[in-house]
Structure formats: structure tokens, C-alpha cells
């Protein structure tokens, strides 16, 4: 058996720092200009009505820091899990053609497992929106 010696294909890298620096510089300059111009040109006559949070004309009640129900949190976790799944699919997608059918089968199994998982969560009511779900 011949072990694979460092199969990671590394090619020499000469990054073009100019584009990165130019881009960062442009971002900084434009942000600075926008902030400066809006504070310079804008009129400042604050009153309580103006300082109130904008809620499409509805007068806000209570604090914005209310407690979120747990189902939202569950959905955030599911999002995280499927986000990680997405990362694997990106990895496959960038060289899908050269990976060929073998790669396709590999990613199919991967996605299939996760779809079964999604179906499981769905079936078990994990995606139910109502906080107080009545179960039998």
C-alpha cells in the first residue's frame, strides 16, 4: 500500500494587496463622507416625537427588549444546522463537474440524511409556530 503523501494541492500564492487596500480605503472614505455629509447638512431640531422609534405610525408601547418565546430559538438552531449543511454543499458545488458522478452520489447521501432529519423535525412538530402547542 502506498500512502498518500500530502495530497493537498497547494499552489504558490501571490496575493494582490493593492485591490484589498484600495477596497478597504474606498469603504472607509465613503463611510466617512456619508456620515459627515448627513450630520453637516441635516437639520437638528430634536423633539420627543422625532426621537420616538419609528413603528410605521403606530405609537410604540413598552420596551423593545421583550422576551422571545422558545420556538424562535429552536428555529435559530435549525437554521444553524442547515447553514452548516450549506457549507458542505458549497464545497461540493465549486467543483461539482470535476468530481463527477461519485461526488454527486456522495453529496446526495449527505443531503438525503439531512432531508430525513428535516422531515423528522417537521413531523415531530419542531416547526410549529404556536408557542403553546397542545399535544394529545
Amino acid at each position: 500500500m502506498q500512502p498518500i503523501v500530502d495530497p493537498f494541492p497547494l499552489s504558490p500564492w501571490i496575493p494582490g494587496p493593492f485591490s484589498l487596500i484600495a477596497y478597504a480605503f474606498a469603504v472607509a472614505v465613503i463611510t466617512a463622507i456619508l456620515l459627515f455629509v448627513s450630520s453637516w447638512l441635516g437639520e437638528k431640531k430634536p423633539n420627543p416625537e422625532k426621537l420616538r422609534p419609528y413603528e410605521s405610525g403606530v405609537i410604540p408601547t413598552g420596551t423593545a427588549r421583550l422576551r422571545f418565546p422558545v420556538p424562535f430559538y429552536l428555529v435559530a438552531i435549525f437554521f444553524l444546522i442547515f447553514d452548516v449543511e450549506g457549507a458542505f454543499i458549497f464545497a461540493w458545488a465549486v467543483s461539482a463537474e470535476s468530481l463527477g458522478w461519485t461526488g454527486f452520489l456522495e453529496i446526495t447521501f449527505f443531503i438525503f440524511v439531512l432531508i430525513v432529519g428535516l422531515f423528522y423535525v417537521w413531523k415531530k412538530g419542531g416547526l410549529d409556530w404556536r408557542p403553546q402547542r397542545t399535544r394529545k
Binding site: P7, V70, L74, I81, D83, S95, V113, L114, Q132
Partner: protein, 171 residues
Amino acid sequence: MTIYSAIFYLLAALIIATTALAITRRNLVHAVVYLVISFFGSALLFFLLGAPFLAALEVIIYAGAIMVLFLFIVMMLRIEESKRRIFPLSQWIPAAVLCVIYLGMLAVILSGIEGDMRLETAVAVPAAFSMWIFRHGWLAVEIASLILLVALIGALHIGRRPAAADKKEAQ
């Protein structure tokens, strides 16, 4: 000092500063925002060191999804801006001990390196990374899918409270 090392040290300083800010803030939302900046710094560092795919994942998963999760926890717990530190001083002691151990280890590792070591700049483009992982490491990818499945089941059962608790809250 080349331009790359200048950028490297700048980013490293940014990461250390924002991470330090993140763990010392008393307002949790501020802490999360500093952590997001720290993750962006790490992503740039990965990019600088020639791992663009890793940089993208750092932004998508860490700065994106995981920070959303953190924000949800902050919102769920309804922690007011408290006078108390998030981490009481008694918890800093074990952390400090671990830090000392870690620094000691780092010193030992560095002492073992003789002479100058030049970091060779090389890049692993996403396509090359993908070819490697799906040609040589695809068993690990399939196992990862099972981990995600188990995590999904676990999140559902551990994260969901019994219906009785919800009812109590609704009343």
C-alpha cells in the same frame, strides 16, 4: 516588514482587542457585536493566509448563524444591563490558570523551533479544497451529515419545553 506582515499584525491586534472587549462588556448585545467584528477579523486572517473558502465559512457560519443564535439567547433570557459582570471574578481564576498553562505550552513549543521559519505563502482555492475533501475525506463528510442529524434530533428534544410549561407561561 512586508505589507503582508503589516496586515497580519493589524488584523491580529484587531482580533485580540475586539475579543477582549467582547468578554468584558456588561451589555450582552454589545459583546455579541464585538464578537462579530472579531470573527470578521479571523475571516480576513484566513484569507490573508491563503484559505478563502475557510474565510467565507467563518463569515457565513460564525459571524452569521452562530451570532444569530447568541442574539436569540440574549433576547430569550431578557438580561437587563446588569451591574454584575457576566463572568464573576471567581470564574476568572480558572481561566487565568488555563491561560498560564497555555502560554507556558506556547513558550515550550516556540523554544523548540530553531532558527527562522518562513511561512510559505500558498493558497488553497475553494475548488481544490473541494476536490480534496470529496476525493479523500468523503467518509468524514458523510459522518458529518449524521452528526448534523443527531444534532437536529437533540436540538428538537432538548430545546423544546414540555407543553405543560408553555401552558403555564400563557396563563
